[in-house]
Every structure is written in C-alpha cells, then in structure tokens.
Amino acid sequence: MHKLWASTYKEFLLLTRDIGGLAVLFLMPLLLVITITTIQDGTFKTLETSKIPMLLVDKDQGAVSRNIQENLNSSDLFEVIAGKSEKDAQNLVQKGTYQLAIIIPKDLSKDLQQKVRDNVEEILMRFGMEEENITSVKSEPKPKEVILYFDPATQQSFKSSVRSNIKQMISQIESQTIYKAFQEQLTEDESEVIFDTRHFITFKEIDPNNNEKPLVPNSTQHNIPAWTLFAIFFIILPLGINMVKEKNQGTFVRLRTQPVSYATVLGGKTLVYVTVSLIQFALMILVGIYLFPLINLPKLDVSGRLPLLFVVAFFAGLAAVGLGLLLGTIAKTQEQSAPFAATFVVILAAIGGVWVPVFAMPKLMQTLSNLSPMNWGLNAFYDVFLRKVGFAEILPEISLLFGFFLITTLIALSYNSRKNAI
C-alpha cells in the first residue's frame, strides 16, 4: 500500500511540476467545449432566429410566385433577395456568395390556375353541377419545376431540410389554389367561407419522461457530455507520453530492478489520471453552469443528477486510463504513442457517436460503434442528462466501461510480464 501511495504521489508531482502541460490538460478541453458549443448553438440560433439569405429569380411574376415569396419571408428561415436572372443566380451560388437560389418558372401561376380550374370543372361536371360544354378542347398545361441551386459546399442535412421546407410550402400553395378554385365555382361571394382551410392533423412533441413538458434539448446539454468524454479519452495522450518517457529516461529500468510490481506502478498512474479526468469533468460542469450563461450560451441543467454524472465520468475515466496504460506499455517511442493516441481517440469519438449520431451511421459503423467505449460513455451520459434515468439503467454501460479498463490493464500487465520475464 505504501508503494502504491508513493507511486501515486510521484505521478502527482510529475504532473504538477509541468505547469504548462497541466494547463493544457485542463484548459484545452474547456476551450474545446466552449468553441464547439458556441458554434453549434450558433447553428441552432441560425435555424431558429437568424435568416439564411436566399436568391429568388421570379420568372412567373404572378400570384403563386408572390405567394411563395410571402411564405418564404414569413417562414423565419430565409431572407429572400431578388435575383437578376437564373444564370446570375447560378453563378453566385456556385461561387459560394449565396448558399442557395430558387428559380420560379415562367407562367407558374397561370398554368397552375388553369390546371386546377380544369380539374375542378371536371369534378363538378361529374357531379352534374356544371354546364356541359364537352365540345371545348382544353389544352393541358405542362408540369412546372421549381429549381433549387445549392452551394456545392452545403451539407446534405441542410439541403434536405431546405428541400423539405420548400416542398411543404409548394404543396400548401397548391392546396390553397384548389380550395380557391372550388370557392370561385361554388359561390359568387368571395367573402363567403365555404372551406375550413386550417390543418386538421397537427403534431405535438412530448418528452417521454414528462407527459406534458416538451423536450427541448439545447446545444449545451448535448455538447457537454459528448466533448467531456472526448477530453477524458484524450488523457491517453499525456499518459502514453508519460510512460514512454519513463522508458527513455531509464527510470522504468530502475523500477524493474526494484521489488515493486508493475501493477503497483500502473495503480499509481490510474489513481492520478482518473482524478485528472474527474477534475476535467467538474470543470466542464462548472463552465456549463456558470460561464455559458455569461457568454449567451444555454445553461447546463444538472439538477439532482450530479452524483450519477460523476459515476459515469469515473468509469469513463477508468476506461480511458486503461487504454492509456496499454498504449504506454506497448509503445517504444513518443513518435509511436502520440500520433497513435490522438488519431485513435478521434476514431473512437467518430464511431462512438460524438459527431454524428449512431442511428445516422451506415449499418457497419453502427455495429462498430457498439465496440467503442466512447459510445458506452456517451449513452450513459445521455441517459443521465437527457433521459433522466437512475443508476440501474446506466449499470450496463458503466459495467462495459469498467470491463474495458480491466481488459486493457490486464493486457498491459501480461504484455509487460512477457516482455520483461526473467
């Protein structure tokens, strides 16, 4: 026990004697979470409050194009800017000056009205409400295409969102035109309301934890767990370097000649680096609660869930340290350990769902994500942060994290024992 304590104290001293390294260890994750949350919160706000500039080329100059413009302006999503021509709009979008342009085709209003009127007359005639003038030959209007141009750099998710909004708007305009045509056919009095055009089917989003309170996840609630986990796992980088340095300095050779087990040496490192990860987590939480509101970011809500969150952080820290111990045991040089650690953490984060949600990944990656300790940690954090579950529900995830720590540490011990067996 005394040797474990001495090893722990030595690790503590090594960390604290490197003030620059210590600052990087604690400040960089904070900088990371502040930066990412600010960017993502900006994206949320862009979609919710600020408008995306959109070029509109109106070749129709009719009621439908005016309707589309009014709808776009009132949608809170877009700021409509009149474009000179389709060619000009296409160039500006290609250059990235605008993210998108919409081209309303010529005679859209006229042809849509014609098409709808023809259909309505046809229907009414079948019901015997219209005078028969079958002899008149109707010219069928050609189907119209509203054209969208997107900046090639635009993300697919943004494109899908805009496409869906425009499609919905056009359908709405079409139905209103149909209603209007019926109205014109059925009554001379324009003020008489024949149809109730309000939506019959609407939807309501309810938080499954709370029957009435709507689920309002914000960028902070999503980012703090994800990026805290990322920072916790980044600890394998300094830990790996620390161990490789010991080999290069010769101190590890000296330890091998001393009556102390490798498990004790690793135990000291584990205690210190898990504590570091818990401090990192505490700092992230404090930043989320106290700093974020000061810089106009949503405040982190941890009410009543702090102990469980620390339980998850503790086991995530253990898993990260286990990986670091294994890397530090196997790597021979800093050139091996540092790039591997940095890249591997990014890969673990990617397949763990830190950037892209697991459900949105291809099938193979979804399967792989089940093997990422970051995925287990992230699920446990989301369970506590967003799903508000208890200890029993996060037990499977923290067991996996603990199992990962045990396995990686046992491999490190076994590798060292085989490598240095006398």
Partner: protein, 247 residues
C-alpha cells in the same frame, strides 16, 4: 557471494552470443571490476545479474538465492547504479530519492534520515530541493548512486558509475564506494577507466566477446605479463588494438 555458472546470452536476431558460457565467483565483501572493450558483454552480464535480462542458458545465485525463484528477495538484496541517470528530470533530488527509496519498502523517518545522510556525504545537500534537470553531469551521477544504495544493499552493481564526470565528483564517488565496501557491501563494477579500476578493485576480470580472457588481482595480473606495466597495457595485450565499433 555471487556464483555464475555457464551463463550465456544471445539477443533475438543476433548471430553471436553477447555472453558465452561464463563461469565466475565473486566473494562477499569484494570489489570486483568487469573490464572490457565496447560490446564485450559487460552491461549484458550486469543486466542479467540485476534481473533485467533473461539468460539464454546457465544460471547464477546471489547469496544462495536463485534468480528464478527468489526474484523479490534478490531485488531487495541488490542495489543497481545504471549507466543512464535513471532519474525524473522534473522532480527534485529529494522527490526522486523518496520515490525510489519507497520502492524498496523504506518509509517515514528512516527514509528521510537516510536521504539526508547520503546527500550530505555526496555533497548534494544544498541542492536537495532543486529539479534534477538543473544538475550538472557530476551531480546527476552522484544522485544516481544514492538512488541505488538507499536500502543498504548487500551487493551493489555499478555500470560505469564515473563516466563523464570531473575528477572531484569521481573522487567523491570512489571514496564513498570504498566506505560502503568497508561496511560490508560487495561491489561489482564496470568501467573504461582502467587506472581507476586498477586502484579501486580487489579483483578484476577482463571480458572480450562475451568470455572472460583473464581474471585475478590487478597487481598479480600485471606482473604475470612481461610487457604490462599497468592494467591498460594488459588490457590492450589481451583484447588488441582493433576498434570495436558495432551498431
């Protein structure tokens, strides 16, 4: 007593043995010098005796303890001063010694007193709370020595303990080793300073290509060879003047 029997070491991928069928007995209380050109097998032999390398064949005992069955007892019995400094540069002298002393099971007042005493003897007391990275080569060598003797080992292995230090530091180190020897510590040491070895060692063995080419009391060995006036003459006669560069 150290008893080495038919000890050999061949590194993985190597064509030759670094140490081959070596038999040697070192008595209790001796200062024994292992001398030889670069790549002769001195460090390999010491590494095996310090439980750092697994012998390919053969065996050895230290105070009747077998290296295979009494690992921890052997480690407690033996002190090692490696050629590298083997210290944490960002930690102070006291931090380093507290840590390495603790790994031998020393603690509390005993450890603190031991550290204080050794720092004073080797002239490092005033620098005890400074980080090692600010130390000169000689200071690091002396601290490296203290790290290996805090637990009063019965047998002390030193791999070139005076390499790269000034005369003053070397004198302090050699004097202290002599003192430890008078207190009962068996010393096994390697060096390229043949003059130092000639005066310091009770017996020496000259090793070349993994084998002992001669062993005995330095004075007797020199007298036995007509053209040798010093150990260095004998060394060149036995090992030749050809360069021993190896990658």
């Amino acid at each position: 007593m150290i008893q080495i029997s038919q000890l050999s070491k061949k590194y993985k991928g190597a064509t030759d043995f670094s140490v081959r069928d070596l038999d040697l007995t070192i008595e209790d209380g001796e200062i024994f010098g292992l001398l030889g050109p670069n790549g002769a097998g001195k460090t390999t032999l010491i590494s095996m005796l310090c439980s750092l390398l697994r012998p390919t064949t053969g065996s050895f005992t230290i105070n009747n303890l077998n290296y295979k069955h009494n690992k921890n007892q052997l480690k407690q019995l033996v002190g090692i001063v490696p050629q590298e400094y083997a210290l944490y540069p960002s930690l102070t002298a006291i931090d380093n010694l507290m840590y390495f002393g603790s790994m031998y099971g020393l603690k509390g007042k005993l450890l603190k007193n031991k550290i204080k005493e050794q720092l004073e003897i080797l002239g490092l007391h005033d620098f005890a709370r400074r980080p090692i990275k600010t130390f000169s080569g000689g200071m690091k060598r002396r601290l490296n020595l203290i790290s290996g003797i805090l637990h009063d080992p019965k047998v002390l292995f030193l791999d070139e303990p005076t390499v790269g230090v000034d005369v003053q530091s070397r004198t302090v180190i050699i004097d202290h080793l002599k003192q430890l020897n008078t207190e009962g510590t068996t010393i096994v040491y390697t060096s390229h300073h043949l003059n130092e070895a000639e005066h310091f060692c009770d017996r020496v063995a000259i090793i070349d290509r993994g084998q002992i080419v001669c062993k005995g009391v330095p004075k007797a060995l020199i007298e036995a060879h007509e053209n040798a006036h010093h150990l260095e003459d004998l060394f060149l006669i036995l090992t030749g003047k050809a360069l021993r560069d190896h990658a």
